[in-house]
């Protein structure tokens, strides 16, 4: 029943992480919602790890092809997501005139 134990641990992590996400993200002001979306989108590119594991798991051709495509898709997500968020956030400037 070891598998089952791991599943319970996974569910625990899942639930706790959702709570952390909820607490952290409710504090993001509407001004930053678009960068939040593109930035969190880049974070969801974390599936690159799964893709690397599948692509690198064996020398079999099919996992190689499937895994490498998945690696590519998630890299676009990660690289594009973080860069475009950085570009957007560079535009946000505070007014330095009076007040």
């Amino acid at each position: 029943m070891i598998d089952f134990e791991i599943l319970i641990i996974s569910i625990t992590i899942f639930v706790l992480a959702i709570f952390i996400g909820y607490e952290v993200i409710t504090k993001v002001p509407p001004t930053l919602h678009t960068p939040l979306m593109s930035g969190s989108n880049a974070i969801s590119g974390i599936v690159i790890i799964g893709a690397l594991l599948v692509a690198g798991s064996t020398d079999g051709l099919i996992p190689k092809i499937i895994g490498s495509i998945a690696v590519g898709l998630s890299v676009i997500n990660v690289v594009g997501g973080f860069l475009v968020t950085d570009r957007m956030l560079s535009m946000f400037k505070k007014g330095n005139d009076k007040k």
Binding site: I6, A17, I48, G50, V54, A55, G56, L73, F82, M91
Partner: protein, 468 residues
Amino acid sequence: MNTEQIINNNIVNLGYVIAAIFFIIGLKRLSSPGTAKNGNRLASVGMLIAVLATVLGNNIFGWEWIISSILIASIIGVFSARKIQMTAMPQLVAIFNGLGGSASGLIAAGELYNLIEANSEIAKDTTITIMISTIIGSLTLTGSLIAFGKLQEIMPTRPLLLPARNILNIMLILALIFSAIWLVIEPSYTPFIIAAIIALILGILIVIPIGGADMPVVIALLNSYSGIAGAATGFVLENNILIISGSLVGASGLILTRIMTKAMNRSLLNVMLGGFGVEDGASAGSGEEETRPVKSIQPDDAATILGYSESVIIVPGYGLAVAQAQHQVRELADILKNRGISVKYAIHPVAGRMPGHMNVLLAEANVPYDELKDLDEINSEFQRTDVAIVIGANDVTNPTARTDTSSPIYGMPILNVDQAQSVIMMKRSMSSGFAGVQNELFFLDKTMMLFGDAKDSVENIVKEVKDL
């Protein structure tokens, strides 16, 4: 498992914990414009740590495939991040959501292949998680592609309502459940492929009936899906960092979805059932022709009113972005400020095509973020304001939403533009907004309509104010 492997696993997991900390602190720093850039960079460092831990701690075969894939994808990623227009951000995010979703689906497929080829017995919980990951991933892919098509206006933005779509959806969902159970009982390729295809079709059917005005909700929801798909992949691979990051993104998407539906005063179910704007538009059109008079003014009149006021609130809507008038508006704000007039921007949560879109568009035009006020902050200020100038916004200023219980937008939080001393409404024509409702604001005594292209009009006002 030998000792070396155990040590390796520990190092990998330690790397994952550090990566998770970077993600959480990164997201936390996104809560203020001053620290946000740093937060995003922290998150990207977290990603690098996670990838390095994975690569160093596992025996990865066949580097040439992986590296060439990373190289090509990086070029595409850099190129799209650099070239994308800020008005097209919703499309980019939609596509990225789809990529994340499809990667999750492919990983599940690869894992299933490995398990079946290994000929060992496959645990039930693994097949269940493979199924969930595949279904959410596939839904996210096609749903995002349709959302992209609608946003890019390759596809008609109005809701497409298929006949008998409810029965069709229910039948597909039943078939999906059937194939999922089949896969769990007897792991093989056939039920997997059937389930994937049905989920791909469902993704299309879910987004197709949703109208263009509701796209912000859809993008936020798909964002959430892409995170949940990642978390599901984490369950498949028993990988904690995938579960943690996926949940963070899933939570973020859900919060944004809720904020958007609240700002429209609609339930998520109501948005998903779709068709908003079709029935309502028809009923509004069948009503009596609008004959009430409106006051129409020219740019020079507007310039006089603005130039001799003390406080101005600018209310931008998506029409402003369509006309590409952000820079002209900022110029207008600058000369007004030089005359000692207080200028602020009132941003409704649904201004633009994704959450927070209008803020980015104005930031791009160098509007300082501390002048951008959201609904709760600004609404009490309208009554103390001389002039509210509405540019390319409509439904979000309609006072009917407060009073007329029969109106389709009744209860939607609006900007209290009608409480300002006077209102300048810049519009192309008298047409109604997305909701198909006539805006009572047009007919108030204090309202002046300035018809024409937003960019030209603002440009002319700027010229006239300079000559005052």
